[in-house]
Every structure is written in structure tokens, then in C-alpha cells.
């Protein structure tokens, strides 16, 4: 096959030279790679697990059973007029996506260190791809939410149309975390040990098992800084018709934006030396 005649421009590799291409453009151009990375993870995960999808549901179900007993029955926490199991399940499903995607994303570069040192693929594709397989789990879990809604006769309204919106915010929040943690993990393996406990504490600092309306005053402010506050409240508003989250949502969205821009900037700066330090 003959080569094209027009001479392409020089591509430079020098110390301190950062990638100039905008992140979204890099992501768009590596969409095929992202898809294949995600497909690889999905196939490998389900290839030899006979019960497959069942495992995806087991985790949120177990947590919801515990929450129902502890928070719903014993502590009798308000669930904004929604049957407690349904209230907690939706929170847990949203949380499980965030937690799984963040943990997977934080490990993705280190787990592919062979690739990082031998191939020059767009590094950002790796954490981006890690966001996709847990989406499949999310969709499967939403079926469970729907079943429970039928059982408790909670009917959705037009607000259900906002579902793609909160899913996008959810994915962006997890992606922001994954950018930070995956790049930090390349340099400090401590990250991978810290992520587990961090997510456990974070779970209880988010309105999964209780509504954020329990907090007031400056607590509420602080609480709204948690990006998951806004996302979970928005999801409940959209699916279960709970009250509109109000200004805390704006604060949460601001945190997501900060997490994402900061994460992108840090990742961009750190990726130049991934192959040397990994």
C-alpha cells in the first residue's frame, strides 16, 4: 500500500511537554480502544462465573437487608415517605456504581503496567474504560429497583426522564476520582490499600441509608460538598419522586466539576512519567 504524499506535521517528545489535545478529543479518538478495554473486562468477569449477574445483585441486596433492619426498624429513620427498603435500595445501587467504578478505576493503570511500559496508547483510555462495566451492573440493579417499585406500588412520573442526567453526573464523579487515584497509585501503591476503607467511610457520609434532610445548618453545607449527596438525592427525586434536592445539588455539582478538572490536570501532568515510575 503506497504512503500518502502530504507530509504530516512533526510530533515532539520533550521534557515537560504536555499533551495539547483536549481531553474530550483524546477520549473521542480512543473510543474504539475504550470499548475494547471495557468489553475485555466484561467478558473476563463473566466468562467463568456460572451465576454471573446474580453476584451483581447480591451486594446491594445484602446491604439493603442490613440497612432495613438497623436504620429502618431499629433507628426508625425517615425515608421521605418512601418504603424504607426501596429508599435504601436505590441509594445503594447508585452508591455501588460509584464505589465499584472508583475502585476499579484506581487500579487500572497498575494492573496494566505491562502495557504502560511497552505501548504508547492514550493513557486516559484506561480509567475511562473502567467506568463502563459497572454501568452494566447499574442497569441490571435498576431492574431490581423497578420490581420493588411494583411491589410497593410506587409509580414513576415524568421525572424518570431525568435518569440519563443523574447517570452522567454519577459517571463523571467516579471518573474524576479514578483520574486522581489511578495516577496517584502509579507513584504510591498506598492508594490501593487506602481506597477500600475510604469508600466504607464515604458510604456512611452519603445519603444512602438515610436522607440528607436529617442534617441542618453548616452540617448541611459540609455534607453537600460530598458529590454523592447531590447525585443520590437527584436519583431519588427522579425515580422515587422525593422532594427536589435544592441548593445542595449545586454545591455537589460544583465538587464534581472541581474533582474532574483537577483530576484531568493532575493526570495529564503525571502521565508523562507513568512508564518510568510504575
Amino acid at each position: 500500500m503506497p504512503l500518502p504524499n502530504a507530509s504530516p506535521p512533526w510530533k515532539q517528545n520533550a521534557a515537560g511537554a504536555e499533551t495539547r489535545t483536549a481531553a474530550w478529543l483524546t477520549l473521542w479518538r480512543s473510543r474504539d480502544l475504550i470499548t475494547f478495554f471495557a468489553l475485555r473486562d466484561l467478558r473476563v468477569r463473566y466468562k467463568q462465573a456460572a451465576l454471573g449477574v446474580v453476584w451483581v445483585l447480591l451486594q446491594p441486596i445484602a446491604s439493603v437487608v442490613i440497612f432495613t433492619l438497623v436504620f429502618g426498624r431499629l433507628a426508625k429513620i425517615s425515608s421521605q415517605g418512601i418504603p424504607y427498603p426501596l429508599f435504601a435500595l436505590l441509594g445503594m445501587v447508585v452508591w455501588t456504581y460509584f464505589s465499584t467504578a472508583t475502585v476499579r478505576g484506581s487500579e487500572v493503570l497498575v494492573n496494566n503496567s505491562q502495557l504502560v511500559t511497552k505501548v504508547s496508547f492514550p493513557r486516559i483510555a484506561a480509567p475511562a474504560a473502567a467506568m463502563l462495566p459497572p454501568l452494566v451492573d447499574l442497569v441490571v440493579s435498576m431492574v431490581l429497583v423497578a420490581l420493588l417499585m411494583v411491589f410497593y406500588q410506587v409509580s414513576p412520573t415524568w421525572r424518570l426522564l431525568a435518569t440519563p442526567l443523574w447517570i452522567v453526573v454519577l459517571v463523571l464523579a467516579a471518573f474524576g476520582m479514578a483520574l486522581w487515584l489511578s495516577a496517584l497509585n502509579v507513584r504510591y501503591r498506598d492508594v490501593q490499600h487506602a481506597v477500600g476503607p475510604m469508600m466504607q467511610i464515604w458510604l456512611f457520609a452519603s445519603p444512602v441509608a438515610y436522607p440528607s434532610s436529617l442534617l441542618s445548618g453548616w452540617h448541611e453545607w459540609l455534607y453537600a460538598l460530598n458529590p454523592m449527596t447531590g447525585v443520590i438525592e437527584l436519583a431519588r427525586w427522579s425515580v422515587l419522586n422525593t422532594p427536589w434536592p435544592g441548593w445542595p445539588l449545586a454545591v455537589s455539582l460544583g465538587t464534581v466539576a472541581a474533582l474532574l478538572t483537577g483530576g484531568l490536570a493532575y493526570f495529564r501532568r503525571a502521565e508523562r512519567s507513568f512508564a518510568d515510575v510504575i
Binding site: 507530509s7 467463568q48 511497552k118 501503591r189
Partner: protein, 398 residues
């Protein structure tokens, strides 16, 4: 027109700097009080290396292990950044530093072709349009839907190379990949690289296989300790490189070392001790290697390699070809007596240590020597076998 320019590139690695967060904090705190304290030992993998490659040219790179060859390739490919200096490339660069990186054992051959193609920078459409070619080249069409973990290592390598071979880049960068795989695989690889060259692609090729290098690349660099020692026509470079292999490691030069084996010395001497150490045509030679096994290694094997100054391998003799011998931890001397076969000329002896699965030391150029003798010997032949040539008259009458 140049498509690759390396402009005074240096690359520094800091050794032993595997910090965890606590050490990093301590170091940062210490730096406040004692600024500019070095954290680890530095290693300059490249120092002020400059060269350029014109469009359609094939450049070879030779050098001993650790000379910085792979670092050049990694910088060219954009995997790592130089510490100072600039590397410029024009067009799409495809680097093949290792065969099969990114293959997943659980996925089928077909799935791996797509995954690997995408990792190497092909779009789904590119891969689909070249899929048949790739499968054809690899010769594994019957097993396309089998997970690659069930492949033989030969099939695995062929499929992996096939994907990389169909990238159709402007600049193809290839590291020592021919060290793996059987003769047929190597022939295919070399053939494919020659094809790429004929198609006008630019090629940068690192190899210990000097014969192949000479075949593919008209021009070469010789890299030593991170610097260019010589650049020019490959035939000249290879010759100088091989002759420089005069490294009597007993003379205080760093020993060849791996985690499991250390080579202390290598000598080539006349088999019968003489007043002078000159090696004469017609004498038997003895190649001796003193080595130490420092870690118990099942299946440890060694080979002595003899190469001409032009890079043609004369023979390699593997221990396990003739005997079964375990090599527990300890010191050894290996001896190989070579019958008087070699013609007058320059040669090098080298050594390989490894197991069936892994190379520990692979240094075809350790000690070089000259076989001396009467100039009346016809120099164009490599071996003087003195085989009896039988001539019989063919009597038309009988």
C-alpha cells in the same frame, strides 16, 4: 526528508526510588532542611544522543545490554519523555517493543486481535478491513474462537506479531523481538520488515542478531553506555562492534551478571598450552568460561556461541544437547574444545545462560580473538574442513 530527529536527547533514571507515601513525606521534610540531596542513585541511560532518519530509510541500532537501545525506542514511541533534548517524529509511529503485550489469556484469538489492534492504535474499521490478512499471516484460523490460553506459544507469538505487522505505520520501531519464536517465525518477521521497507516505510530496528541487521538496515548506530560510539554503514559498524568485543572479563571489567548467574571470565586459548597465546589455524582451540551459579535454578542451561566478525553465527553449543547436568549453586568452569575448523579471521565467543522459558544472560559478544595463519589460506571460506573430495573417472565404455 527526515521523519525522525533525535536532537541531543538525554534520559536519566533514578534507581532504587520506589517510595511509598511515608518515605516520600520523610524525604520532602528532609529536603526542607537539606535541599538538593539526591534521593537515589542516578543512571544516565542516554547522554546527548543525536541522529536522524530519512523517509524510507532503515536504521539499525547495536549495543550491549543496558547501552540505552530500548530507551531510544521508548522515547521515539512516546512511551517515556526525555530528560533533556527533543525527539521529533513525523506521521504515525508504531513501536513493537514486545510481542503480545496486552493479549488476554481468557479471550479468544479473534477478540484479542481486535483488542490488541486497538491498543496499538488501530480503529475498529482498520482492524476489520485487515482481519483476514492478519489471520492469514498468523496461520491460526482454525483456532480463532479458542481462548489464547490454550494456544501453543508458537501460535500465540504468530498471532501477536501478525496484528502488529499489519499496522501500516509511517515509522516502524522494532525491538529485539526475533529472540523469541522458532526459525519460521523469525523468517516471517524478517520478511515482513523487508516488505515494510520496500513499501517506503521508515524503520528503526534494534537487534543482537547482527546478520539480520546487516540484511535489513544499510545504516546503523553503535550505542555504548548511553552514547553513540560510532555511526555509519552497517557492515562497518557491525565489524567494529564485534571486534570491540575483546573484553577479557577477567581483566577487571564488570562481570556479566544476572540474578542467578555471574560470569567471571571468558577466554579463548590454544588447547595445548604454548609459550604464546596466539591462536593458529590448524590448532585446536579451547573456549573457557568461569561462572558462578548464585541461585538454585531448575533447568538451568548454558550455551557457548561463536560468531564471525561480520556477525555470522558459526555455531552455538548447548549443554543440554549432549548431556543432562544439574547446576546447583557453586563455581564452575565450562570448557569447549573446537577442532581446527576455523579459517583465518576475526571471531567472537559469547555465552548464553537461561532455561527453556527465560534468558538470564544472552551476550553473543564477550571475547573476541583472531585465528592467525598463512595468508595463502583462501579467506573467503569460513571453515576449513579438509573433507576428502572423491573423484572417480566415468568411463563411457563400461
Amino acid at each position: 526528508m527526515d521523519v525522525v530527529q533525535f536532537d541531543r536527547v538525554s534520559k536519566r533514571y533514578v534507581l532504587g526510588q520506589r517510595l511509598n507515601a511515608r518515605e516520600a513525606l520523610t524525604a520532602a521534610a528532609a529536603a526542607v532542611f537539606r535541599p538538593r540531596r539526591e534521593l537515589g542513585r542516578e543512571l544516565w541511560s542516554l547522554r546527548d544522543v543525536g541522529f536522524s532518519v530519512a523517509e524510507g530509510e532503515a536504521l539499525g541500532i547495536v549495543g550491549r545490554n543496558g547501552a540505552g537501545k530500548s530507551t531510544i525506542l521508548k522515547i521515539l514511541a512516546g512511551i517515556t519523555a526525555p530528560t533533556t533534548g527533543v525527539s521529533r517524529t513525523r506521521g504515525r509511529v508504531a513501536a513493537l517493543l514486545e510481542v503480545g503485550t496486552g493479549f488476554h489469556p481468557e479471550l479468544s484469538g479473534r477478540e484479542n486481535v481486535y483488542l490488541n489492534g486497538a491498543i496499538l492504535g488501530m480503529s475498529r474499521r482498520d482492524i476489520t478491513s485487515r482481519f483476514d490478512e492478519i489471520v492469514d499471516f498468523s496461520g491460526v484460523e482454525r483456532f480463532l474462537d479458542t481462548p489464547v490460553k490454550r494456544y501453543s506459544s508458537g501460535m500465540y507469538l504468530r498471532l501477536a506479531f501478525a496484528v502488529a505487522a499489519h499496522l501500516e505505520p509511517d515509522v516502524l520501531v522494532v525491538d529485539e523481538i526475533l529472540a523469541v519464536g522458532d526459525a519460521e517465525f523469525q523468517r516471517k518477521c524478517i520478511g515482513r520488515m523487508q516488505e515494510a521497507e520496500q513499501e517506503g516505510r521508515t524503520l528503526v530496528f534494534v537487534s543482537h542478531d547482527l546478520e539480520t541487521l546487516t540484511k535489513i538496515c544499510p545504516r546503523s548506530l553503535w550505542l555504548e553506555a548511553g552514547e553513540i560510539r560510532e555511526a555509519g554503514a552497517t557492515a562497518t559498524i557491525v565489524r567494529d562492534y564485534v571486534v570491540s568485543g575483546l573484553l577479557p572479563t577477567a581483566d577487571g571489567t564488570a562481570p556479566l551478571q544476572s540474578e542467578r548467574v555471574t560470569v567471571h571470565a571468558m577466554r579463548v586459548v590454544p588447547e595445548i598450552e604454548q609459550a604464546s597465546d596466539a591462536l593458529l589455524r590448524g590448532d585446536r582451540l579451547r573456549i573457557e568460561v568461569d561462572f558462578e551459579v548464585t541461585e538454585e535454578t531448575p533447568g538451568l542451561d548454558l550455551a557457548l556461541v561463536l560468531t564471525t566478525a561480520a556477525g555470522v553465527r558459526v555455531f552455538d553449543e548447548l549443554l543440554s544437547d549432549t548431556t543432562l547436568m544439574r547446576l546447583p549453586v557453586g563455581n564452575y568452569r565450562a570448557k569447549l574444545v573446537v577442532p581446527p575448523l576455523l579459517n583465518v579471521g576475526d571471531y567472537t565467543a559469547g555465552i548464553w545462560f537461561g532455561t527453556q522459558y527465560e534468558d538470564f544472560i544472552d551476550q553473543p559478544v564477550v571475547a573476541s580473538f583472531t585465528v592467525q595463519g598463512s595468508v595463502s589460506y583462501r579467506s573467503e571460506r569460513l571453515l576449513v574442513l579438509s573433507l576428502p573430495l572423491v573423484v572417480q573417472p566415468l568411463d563411457a565404455a563400461s
